[in-house]
């Protein structure tokens, strides 16, 4: 860029921004000229006064006119034109408010939904984790055939730590929920993670207040220190400034709060919503144990990712060789934390949601194109006249493009509003029981997305009809004198495709929503082998410090059940490892007495549950034969089992299962137990198919565990008062023992699947929106063209035929004219999506019939929607619609 050009730019800028200065300069320049003119007249021998008058005469008459002309040259021509076109566009949009409102709403909804999805994607997947140099962070897994992402034993972790010079740094953590109580108050359940002392340092997020853990505090005994999350500090302690040094009880033991993490650490994607961090608290015994895989590892690698992976893999090989008893068949792997932060399932769900919201956007787009096309056609005469008067192609297109821009801007603003509203809803709907809200942020990326999407939509789909306008037959239009255009076949076909296409997409959305709702209903209403109404349940965790062994646990459970059963309104109560609707507590392998023992690893496997007396009556599982457990099945009594119907049939066929004896594989000695009962099969509410079909119950007293599910069957309906009474009863037994998630079982079940519920609501929203937009589009177009009866009738029948054809096209069964959109493409699409989300298989298999049913139901609704809204006197197209579809 040379100096000359720079000067020119400067002049341009001055002209734009320094108007007063420019005016003065212009005055001076013209005055200069005038003075010369006067001097010239004087030289001709005219008197001063006359010369001045003559000069004024020659100069003055048109002075203001050419001053204006001069000013015009100061204004950049594009800008001046743009302003003019903008005003013109505004005026012409204001002249047809119906169209404008329809177009803006269409854009706002279509783009808004898409933006909301993008906003969710942005805050969950795109946003990086709030740690230092997250690219270096890796998760380290121990992989076996059963567990692709297994945890790591303490001894293995200790070994890795002492040999990790080549790798970088490694920190360990393990989830260990706890009860937290302030002095003089009952305890509450908190999400707690036990960590190695270097975790925060490794992540690069030191405590905001107070200090970090020290290496020595990891050992048991010196581990009574806490670091709390900023969320916990605000929520539980009201952000108290004297938080450091406070002593609270954790699982009944006094612990000192030594630090508070910064709010950035609240990010849930890696560790979840943690309230309290505690040191690992390892005993010497634990540190030498390779059996229980307890720890999760996170590393910050020093070298490249390949070097780090190689290092970890070699360490795994060494372990497998040195300790084959515990580590044979296992390999060690690293996975980038940033890639893995939300796992694969949310990614595919988001992929699906963005895709589906894209459908809504496409429907909105074709709507807009249709509206603009109809509008362009209605203005065909105007275009014809203007081009006859010599308007260039550019000049003809410009107002259309500017109109689209104005629409895009208004639509973009609307879209942001819609997106804000939608993300608020999403955030509220996906908030967990304990206020675990996913924050949705409307940052610049989201705003940019909204505006680029609406701009792209409006301009692309504004131009399409404009190009049709370009191809108008000038002569014909001018001569015909019609108010609208006698539209060509080309754009008729285009319009048919648009309307047909958008309805087909709306149908796909509807089908999917229908399938989803059915699937979710199936899950929520599944009562397979248990009765969840009139039941209240909660979870307790008996801390090892207070309840170290079977005797203490049994005593506590007996006392708790006695008190609970004594409450008015309680029919029965039980404790168990787990509740049938939440699945079983892990699987064990068993052998049958008196039969050939299968090869190791080939023994029959059963899901197990440990239950107290009166469990079956409390949860509503039917006993088919034999007896239930009772107070006589104590630790000293002979072992007894109850097995499920399927297990009994599988192991013993038609033979009576009662009286046979089983033993668990894997213990040091075979301990035989007698089968005393056969219970009905149960199924959990979870969609994932479970490979184990055998179920086995053992008396809680014979193998008590600290993690207990309490269940109470009420005599009447469940009530809040009863929930409170249960809580008070339990608190009275031990104030440091909070009952977690104490609530009616039905609510718990609904909550467990609430994310699917949110998803289903979203799909429903998409479907209704898609259909509404499609209907709105047809309504708008018919209403517009309806003024010109013959044209609109032809148009009506054509587009409706297009609709029918498009449905047929999606049918896949090829029965022309009998558009069933449940088939073909839509069906395989949804089968795939449902499989992806692991919704119940039988629901997916039914997709064909369900989909068809829904499609028909909604088609009827679509028709109703359409013609309830259509202008009066449109029974002709109705008949056409019927013909086109059926």
């Amino acid at each position: 860029m040379n100096a000359e050009r720079l000067r020119w730019l400067k002049t341009k800028c001055r002209r734009l921004f320094r108007r007063d200065q420019q005016e003065k300069a212009l005055d001076a320049e013209l005055q200069f000229h005038l003075d010369h003119l006067v001097a010239q007249f004087r030289a001709d021998g005219i008197s001063e006064r006359d010369a001045r008058l003559a000069a004024q005469r020659e100069f003055g008459a048109e002075a203001s006119a050419y001053r204006e002309e001069i000013r015009d040259t100061w204004r950049p021509p594009e800008l001046a034109d743009l302003w003019r076109s903008l005003r013109f566009a505004m005026r012409s949009l204001a002249r047809s408010p119906g169209f404008t409102v329809l177009a803006v709403i269409t854009l706002a909804l279509g783009v808004g939904v898409n933006t909301a999805m993008f906003s969710a994607l942005n805050s969950i997947i795109l946003r990086p984790l709030p740690y230092r140099d997250t690219a270096q962070l890796e998760e380290i897994f121990r992989t076996t055939a059963q567990e692709p992402r297994g945890k790591i034993s303490v001894a293995d972790y200790v070994d890795l730590q002492s040999q990790m010079d080549g790798y970088g740094a490694i920190a360990a953590f393990t989830r260990a929920d706890a009860s937290l109580a302030e002095p003089g108050q009952p305890a509450e359940f908190v999400e707690s993670v036990r960590i190695s002392a270097n975790l925060f340092d490794l992540l690069g997020v030191p405590p905001q207040v107070g200090r970090d853990f020290q290496a020595g505090e990891v050992r048991e005994g010196s581990d009574h220190v806490l670091i709390i999350s900023s969320r916990c500090w605000q929520k539980r302690f009201g952000g108290a400034s004297d938080i450091i040094g406070r002593v609270v009880r954790i699982n009944g033991q006094p612990n000192e709060i030594i630090g508070v993490l910064p709010p950035t650490f609240n990010d849930w994607r890696f560790l979840g919503w943690v309230d309290v961090f505690r040191p690992l608290g390892l005993t010497g015994e634990e540190s030498a144990d390779r059996k229980p895989q307890l720890l999760q590892l996170i590393g910050r690698r020093a070298g490249t990712s390949a070097q780090a992976a190689g290092y970890i893999a070699r360490f795994g090989e060494r372990l497998a060789k040195d300790f084959p008893a515990d580590n044979a068949g296992s390999t060690w792997e690293t996975v980038s934390l940033e890639e893995d932060k939300v796992g694969n399932s949310p990614k595919s769900v988001f992929g699906m949601l963005i895709g589906l919201s894209g459908f809504v956007l496409i429907i909105a787009c074709s709507n807009l194109a249709n509206l603009l096309l109809a509008r362009t056609m209605a203005r065909a005469r105007e275009f014809a006249v203007r081009s006859a008067l010599g308007a260039s192609r550019r000049q003809l297109l410009r107002p259309l493009v500017v109109e689209s821009l104005v629409l895009a801007l208004a639509g973009g603003v609307g879209a942001v509003l819609v997106a804000m509203w939608a993300t608020d809803w999403l955030s509220a709907a996906s908030t967990g029981d304990n206020g675990e809200a996913v924050p949705f942020m409307l940052d610049w990326r989201v705003l940019a997305w909204a505006f680029v999407a609406s701009l792209g939509t409006a301009v692309a789909f504004g131009l399409a009809p404009a190009l049709f306008a370009m191809r108008l037959d000038l002569n014909g239009t001018l001569k015909s004198g019609a108010r609208g255009a006698t539209a060509g076949r080309g754009h008729q076909r285009f319009r048919s495709v648009l309307i047909g296409g958008q309805f087909a997409l709306a149908m796909i959305l509807l089908t999917g929503a229908g399938l989803f709702i059915r699937g979710l209903d199936d899950l929520n209403n599944r009562r397979a082998g248990w009765q969840s109404d009139q039941m209240i349940r909660g979870t307790i965790l008996l801390p090892a410090a207070t309840y170290p062994g079977a005797t203490e646990i049994n005593a506590f459970q007996r006392l708790a059940l006695e008190r609970l059963r004594a409450l008015p309104g309680v029919a029965s109560a039980s404790v168990s490892y787990t509740m049938p609707f939440l699945g079983f507590a892990g699987a064990r392998r068993y052998v049958v007495e008196g039969r050939e023992i299968p090869k190791a690893g080939q023994e029959p496997t059963a899901d197990i549950n440990g239950v107290s007396p009166r469990y079956f009556e409390t949860v509503g599982t039917r006993l088919l034969a034999g007896r239930v457990f009772d107070a006589h099945d104590t630790p000293d009594a002979p072992r007894v089992f109850i097995i499920s119907e399927t297990m009994a049939r599988g192991l013993f066929g038609k033979e009576n299962a009662l009286g046979h004896r089983l033993a668990r594989v894997g213990g040091d000695t075979m301990e035989w137990g007698q089968i005393v009962g056969v219970a009905a099969d149960t199924r959990s509410i979870f969609p994932d198919p479970h490979p184990v079909t055998f179920q086995l119950y053992q008396p809680m007293a014979q193998e008590p565990r600290p993690y207990n599910e309490i269940a109470v069957r009420t005599a009447g309906a469940t009530s809040a008062a009863l929930v409170d009474a249960i809580r008070t009863t339990m608190t009275a037994l031990n104030p440091d023992l909070p009952v977690r998630d104490l609530q009616p079982a039905d609510r718990r079940i609904a909550r467990r699947n609430y994310q699917l519920g949110v998803l289903s609501n979203m799909l429903n929203g998409f479907a209704v929106l898609g259909l509404a937009l499609a209907s709105l589009g047809i309504y708008g177009v018919i209403a517009r063209t309806m003024r010109n009866a013959p044209v609109s009738l032809r148009f009506g029948s054509r587009s409706v035929r297009g609709f029918g054809i498009s449905l047929t096209w999606f049918n896949g069964e090829g029965e022309a004219g009998r558009g069933r959109c449940g088939g073909g493409f839509a069906r395989s699409f949804w089968d795939h999506a449902l499989a992806e989300l692991a919704l119940p298989k039988h629901a997916a298999q039914r997709s064909a019939s369900v989909g068809r049913g829904h499609a028909f139901a909604h088609r009827g609704r679509a028709r109703r929607l359409l013609f309830a809204g259509a202008p009066r006197g449109t029974d002709q197209p109705d008949r056409c619609l019927a013909r086109g579809v059926d």
Partner: protein, 110 residues
């Protein structure tokens, strides 16, 4: 000699100004004088068309302006042709000459 009709052919005004400026930096008055003198008073530029043209040419970047001092010692706005202006002048001159030649050969046709 008669003055030629005042309505100059479209585009010629710009060409005249550029040509006048190609030799020297001039202010508006001198431009009109110079054109009048060189054309033997047959072409005269009224201020009504001169100044809009000057400002138009300036905003196209073919000429640029600067305030200076006139011969009479008054401050005046002087215009100067730019490199782009010269290029434009060259092209347009060639254009015009070939057009004029063609026109005259047609008009003088026997």
């Amino acid at each position: 000699m008669d003055k030629v009709r005042n309505e100059l052919l479209q585009g010629t005004l710009d060409l005249l100004i550029l040509k006048a400026l190609s030799a020297a930096e001039l202010h508006g008055w001198d431009i009109s004088k110079r054109i009048a003198i060189v054309s033997n008073e047959r072409l005269s530029l009224k201020q009504g068309s001169l100044y809009p043209a000057l400002h138009r040419l300036e905003s196209r970047g073919w000429i640029e302006a600067e305030w200076g001092v006139s011969d009479a010692g008054r401050s005046a706005k002087f215009y100067r042709i730019t490199r782009r202006g010269r290029k434009e002048l060259e092209v347009e001159t060639a254009h015009w000459l070939s057009f004029a030649e063609a026109m005259s050969s047609v008009l003088r046709m026997e």
